[in-house]
Amino acid sequence: MRAPSFFRTIAFRIVFIYIAIFAVSAAGLVAFTYWNTKRELDAQTDQTIDSEIVGLSERYQQLGLGGLANVIMGRSVRGTAGLYLLTDLLHRPIAGNLDGWPLLMYEPGNFVEFNYERRVGNGSALRRARGRVLTLTGGFQLLVARDIHERHETVRLFSTTIPWSLLLMLFLGVVGGTVMSRNLVARLDSINDTSREIMAGDLSRRVPVRNTGDEFDILATNLNRMLDRIERLMRGMREVTDSVAHDLRSPLNRLRNRIDAALRRLSPESAEYAEIESAAVEIDQLIATFNALLLIAEAEAGMAREAMARVDLRDVVEGIAELYGALAEEKGVGFEVAPSGEAMILGNKRLIAQALANLVDNAIKYTPEGGNIRVSIESRPTGVALVVADTGIGIPDADRARVLDRFVRLEASRHSPGTGLGLSLVVAVAKLHDAKLDLADNAPGLRATLLFPHETAIRPALRQITTPAAVPAAAK
């Protein structure tokens, strides 16, 4: 797999989540502090006002209106926080340090906030106050309030810091998220790098373990154990194929040697010579079948991955076309190679050439005189396609899947030479390259497509095989 786009990376998600969590918690914290401070300050003010009202109404009961007015006048020093105003029913001031009744609407008993003018030097300033009105017996109105400008200012200042603190939180969120994700992503990258190298055939690679005992270490350890097992299995498989190869080839070799020795002793004109010579042909056919089977087994087991290198499909097509073109011409079949641009893939050149040779050989075999064969390389959205199209007898729909199985030969081809393994080998080679073999009707004829996905075409992680300078040519 290639690296995901930035917005789908874990790093981006972590940073994003960090910012979100920081922003929400910061906003919550600020809002709570603001609300709580304001409430606390209001409660203090209200308490002071309440106790003053209680005190003043006691004075009124004891001393009457005149006495209350005196007390109020005594307290009404301009410039202090305490505000008083005693009025008659029509709000005409009797005593106090407020110039006029400041309230338009109020409910006696409830706290109200209002603005009033306060003289500062020569001019005046509009200030905020909070207070309560008490209706005295006789209809007199007593307003007791406190200047809350200072408190108001504090709260206002407080609110101007909110955006700044949010911004700070945002910044911390980005930094925190980046640091966290950097660490996380570095661990994931090391796992990804290792898996890519392993997929490219280097089975000895292991995911680094940091011995911190965290989840990543557990993951790495588990992956490494799994890789150990896969490597053991692959080695076992190789040993089996090697020993099968060895154990069968040695007796076949002795048999071939005996036939050779017998042929050398006989005169080419004798009747036995022809007999033994046909035995030699027979055994060579057997050897060819055996070799093809072994090659299929090796390709399917992924052994040839070790020999993967950069291959330009154009070179393969050119070479095979040059080799088999003559064969087609001899048979009276047209052979054409469509021009194409560079088509780099990562693969085993020998096996790809063999696969293409098998496809072309089949095409020539099953295309009658006067027909046409066309080999082309097509760039598709999903990868690079190697196409061999002929105008021959084709394969009936029902048989198309079956012909890919080993040793299957259709009735129509029973008489022609071949091991019946040609297409199986193509399938195995395709599998080795993560490619797909598709057989379609060419109306008439067969259209065989080997589609190499972009992932085999571009594996930038393969530093040991592909040089960085050479990659962009194949990259898209």
Binding site: A245, N257, R264, E298, A307, A326, L351, D361
Partner: protein, 225 residues
């Protein structure tokens, strides 16, 4: 020619030694890698045939040691191993050719001839000649007698290879490997087709054919049949 055979399969060794002796060579044999190495270091051989898997010392190791001692005797590997990347390993270790068992004896003989010829190369040639057929390697021109022959690049390489091995049997596999650089089973007689086209160009209309088919083995170019 002196040939060393290092092979642990005794029956295969016997056939090999007998066959080579019948073909007129002087043959020494060894059953394991250590004997093989000491023989090849102590006596001059024109070519050594080394099995890939040997007791005591692996065939690869033997050839690596041999090369480290500065010995350049041509080596032909015989291998019963699966061959996808084994051939590369063999050639990397210092082998000169590689043949997978089971092989036809004619194939082995032809390859040995080619290896021994390679060991004693004549001075660098710019012209090859067989009978009245001439190949100019500099101007890439071919002519037979006074008639100039028009050759495609691959036909030129094919003819060059055949002429460099004039008088020697050259097998189809050798041609596929050397001229086309392919190491696979071509399924069909593609090489025969290319040979018959070349034959049509160089032999057709001339009295004495130069390009001969050797039954059960391959082809040979030479002046007189």
């Amino acid at each position: 020619m002196r040939i060393l055979v290092v092979e642990d399969d005794l029956e295969a060794q016997r056939y090999l030694v007998n066959g080579l002796k019948e073909a007129g060579h002087v043959v020494d044999d060894a059953e394991d890698g250590e004997i093989g190495l000491s023989l090849s270091l102590s006596r001059p051989y024109d070519v050594a045939i080394v099995d890939r898997m040997l007791p005591k010392m692996d065939g690869l190791k033997l050839v690596e040691e041999l090369r480290q001692h500065g010995n350049v005797t041509p080596v032909l590997f015989l291998s019963a191993l699966s061959e996808v990347d084994d051939r590369v390993k063999g050639l990397k270790a210092g082998g000169d050719d590689y043949l997978t068992k089971p092989y036809a004896f004619a194939e082995l003989l032809a390859r040995l001839d080619a290896l021994m010829r390679r060991r004693h190369p004549a001075a660098v040639k710019t012209r090859l000649q067989v009978g009245d057929l001439e190949l100019d390697l500099l101007t890439r021109a071919a002519k037979r007698g006074e008639v100039s022959i028009d050759l495609q690049p691959r036909e030129f390489r094919l003819l060059e290879y055949l002429m460099r091995h004039a008088g020697q049997v050259v097998t189809r596999t050798m041609l596929l490997e050397s001229v086309w650089e392919y190491h696979f089973d071509p399924q069909t007689n593609v090489i025969d087709v290319h040979i018959s086209r070349l034959r049509a160009k160089i032999d057709k209309g001339f009295e004495a054919p130069l390009l001969h088919t050797v039954r059960g083995a391959g082809y040979m170019i030479r002046a007189r049949a």
